[in-house]
Symmetry: C2
Subunit: 372 residues, 2 copies
């Protein structure tokens, strides 16, 4: 089975590493001009004949990057099976569509407004109560295209800085933690759910994901499972889907956004779960049985951002698993991640702190359950 | 770090899959004309200019196949670091040298004789007591170049069928089981040992490896650790070394042969150990700290030989991990392996039987500890 992947970054690289053992071969179609997968057959898309070459090589198509021209994915869908479908991309590319879908399925979200001018932004900020966060409805990624407004008077500046014709304005949520639920749905509609992860972001970039959470109420996991199952079924989705949520002080979950792909907050599954999110995505899109999503033991994923750190020192930590992306260093760039495993959460936190000390730009890892 | 690998089969493929996450890149030099790695940059060696190209690309060299021209490896050693050294290849290519090394280090072996004619073969068979096994001193692999003599009168036929100027003749050992010990030695002389595996062979081809063994006396593991450490230190060895042994009824270990590389009987470590043999080999040769060699839980590796079997049915077994080599089917060919994990040995054996039923040519898995 030759699998075509739209996008050619580290997510595609890790898909390929999970797929070689299934005898899959990989052809990547990069649309950014900056492929970094460093594995398989990488093609850079600039015109139609690249697309034809790509399609000649592949039996089915998936993607590791949702900021793709929807028309391109729809055109591919006419010629090859595409999992997940272009519909998932279309919705995930537009925060307004995404929020409407959440609303339709009864998945709670933070209060929000759609605005199309600085005046509307100011009014929405007033209505929701500052601070608010304003986000362009399209093309946001890792904190780009966003602004925090601490006062309605900042609306003109914020409007100008985001520079987009339509924004979603969201009330700030007094959340205890950011969490994510990752699930996978097979071609026959079978679904498997990973244990939820607690995620620590700094400046909109994920820094740590920890799963399973020691203090997670089983009913909260079941609520999240229900939300993501509704999304999967509504979209007749095939593959891995990620839903990021806020958990409030009273335990409620509010959907933040979803990603129609394997996700950074699921990298812990590479070493910490029986079956990784990458393998399960590939199993799903090929119509193979889904693998067990259970955690083997408490696991924390530590992102390596901007600078590599000392690989030897990281590898000297017991049960540390380094996953480098073979990219050059650049501020803010995701270069690698480390998965740390330990039999107890207390031991795990010790390792996380030890690992963070080895990474020049790592913020302090402080999880919500440490406060209790 | 660009790593050059001599040989380009499934062992090289799995080395590469373990090495991408360390940001290694791989260039393979195949000397057989039939590379199957299907990953990295594969070059077929036919003349000197291929070797020059290969060396231009790589920072250090290792191998996944020891049946290489020693002179070639020695020539490479003049220009690039080679781990393990050519000395390990030289000895492992010659059963007479290998036995002499075992003798010198006090590692017990089955009684043996070296013979250089049919007459000497007949005499050795008489002396050791039939049945005996005769093996060419060089080029044997997976049961090729061997003959069992049930009577000294078979010496002429056996000599002719093996067709080699020097043979090792070994007394049959009344063994309870075949086992192997895999260890890894770093550049600084640090050593880590994997739990021993019990191996089931049929017609000289490995079919099952199970580790850890439920009934293994700790002192037996320590004895094996001592033997392999003696070999590693004597050869100033860097990387993974495998020693295959017989365990006799009274618990004694007798060395059968060694392999200067990652080994089929260590494939269980890919899913069943904290650090796989492949990753540890790469850590060792790059001077990185060795990873934890502990087993996560009882694991059995099932080889897929000749025919693929039903991948979907295999993947439906809980905690089954399929590793295909993306090769075409051919009788006797190693095509894939499945690692099965279970919390207890009883559950593991159930899975092994279930898996064997899905493989057209799998013999019955029957481990020594099932008899007790």
């Amino acid at each position: 089975m030759n699998i075509g992947v739209l996008g050619a970054g580290q997510l595609g690289r890790m898909l390929a590493l999970a797929g070689y053992p299934l005898a899959n071969r990989f052809t990547f179609l990069d649309t950014t001009g900056h492929p970094s997968a460093g594995i398989g057959d990488v093609m850079v898309y600039t015109d139609q004949h690249h697309l034809d070459d790509f399609l000649d090589k592949v039996d089915l198509v998936t993607y590791e990057f949702e900021h793709l021209p929807v028309a391109l994915v729809q055109a591919i869908e006419e010629l090859r099976p595409v999992y997940p479908s272009s519909e998932a991309i279309r919705i995930c590319q537009n925060r307004a569509q995404e929020k409407a879908l959440f609303d339709r399925l009864g998945i709670p979200t933070p209060a929000y407004r759609l605005v199309q001018s600085a005046e509307e932004l100011e009014a929405a900020t007033r209505e929701l109560g500052a601070p608010v966060v304003a986000k362009s409805v399209t093309e946001g990624y890792d904190g780009k295209g966003q602004a925090v407004l601490r006062d309605p008077a900042e609306a003109v500046d914020a409007w100008r800085s985001i520079n987009h014709p339509q924004l979603v304005v969201e009330a700030f949520v007094d959340f205890v933690r950011e969490v994510s639920i990752i699930a996978v749905r097979g071609r026959e509609g079978d679904v498997a759910f990973y244990p939820m992860a607690e995620n620590l972001h700094v400046d909109g970039i994920l820094r740590y994901s920890l799963a399973p959470m020691p203090d997670l109420d089983e009913t909260v996991q079941q609520t999240a499972d229900g939300y993501i199952r509704a999304l999967l079924d509504e979209l007749d989705y095939v593959g891995v889907l990620t839903l990021e949520l806020f958990q409030t002080r009273d335990g409620q979950l509010l959907a933040n956004e979803m990603a129609p792909r394997v996700h950074n907050s699921g990298h812990w599954t590479m070493d910490g779960a029986v079956t990784s999110q990458f393998e399960n995505h590939l199993r799903a899109i090929q119509g193979l049985p889904l693998g067990d999503t259970s955690a083997r033991m408490p696991t924390c994923m530590v992102n390596v951002i901007g600078q590599e750190g000392d690989a030897a020192a990281i590898l000297a930590i017991e049960d540390a698993h380094l996953h480098r992306y073979d990219k050059s260093e650049r501020p803010g760039r995701k270069l690698a991640h480390v998965n740390l495993l330990a039999p107890t959460h207390a031991e795990l936190l010790e390792k996380v702190h030890a690992c963070a000390c080895l990474l020049p730009e790592a913020p302090e890892p402080r999880f919500s359950f440490e406060d209790s």
